[in-house]
């Protein structure tokens, strides 16, 4: 009887694996243009994207943060983003774009546009 249980478990696990794999692939692709804010940090800290990409920051922390570019002309600057709020910016020109959170200036990150 135990062998039936094992087999059933294996089948279910295999099914989950198969059903799950395309979703995982889609996720990694999407993650390339998304920066998650959590625990007082940007993830990934440095994101490399081709020119023309729209990068979206999403705040998964339980407190507000902002996304503000560090250059003098403030290329991009979000409003205050509370939990689960998003901000997007499309990078059309190649270059390195360092940014920080204006509420917590020690929080920094950068987007590298190629």
């Amino acid at each position: 009887m135990w062998i039936v249980g094992m087999a059933a478990t294996a089948v279910v696990a295999l099914g989950l694996l198969l059903a799950g794999s395309p979703k995982v692939a889609a996720n990694t692709q999407q993650a390339a243009t998304e920066v998650k804010i959590d625990n007082f940090s940007f993830g990934p800290v440095a994101l490399t994207v081709p020119a023309g990409t729209t990068v979206t920051w999403i705040n998964r922390d339980d407190m507000p943060h902002t996304v503000v570019s560090m250059d003098d002309s403030k290329t991009f600057k979000s409003k205050v983003l509370d939990t689960d709020e998003k901000f997007s910016f499309t990078f059309s020109k190649a270059g390195t774009y360092p940014y920080f959170c204006s509420i917590h200036p020690k929080m920094t990150g950068k987007v590298i546009v190629q």
Binding site: N39, F40, D62, M63, P64, V80, D82, I103, H104, P105, K106, M107
Partner: protein, 154 residues
Amino acid sequence: MIEAFFETAAPRAANVVLVLEFAMGLGLLVGARLARKGSFRQHAWCQSSIVLLNLAVVAVMMIPSFRDHVLPRIPAKLGKAYYALATTHAAIGTVTELAGLYILLSAGTSVLPEKFRITKYKAWMRSVLVLWWVVLLLGMATYTRWYVPHLFRK
């Protein structure tokens, strides 16, 4: 714990305000002792300068922060400690600072007409001192919730 305190996510300005406000809170206690010892002139100078310095700190640092970070989210998000603490602090803080200014104008100047001046000085001053410390502690609680969250994290 001590390290956690100094390694907060706070901007430098918030740390400066925190230290300054704590010093002012202690200053008011020293000033209260001056009154008990009968040094009323020094008492008046001490408390008046603190009330005025605090007015400047509130106007320059706290009101802009409140306007940018709290006002757009209330009352919708008052359920969150982040906003509830800051709002309670700001509300009682406003009453306290105004009461402090009222005492200053009543006792230290003659700009107010006679009938608007305080007669029960002791009761007013004591109440404002107590309220002040309540506001100060709420300010510290706000600071902790805003900038030292890893103290409470899962």
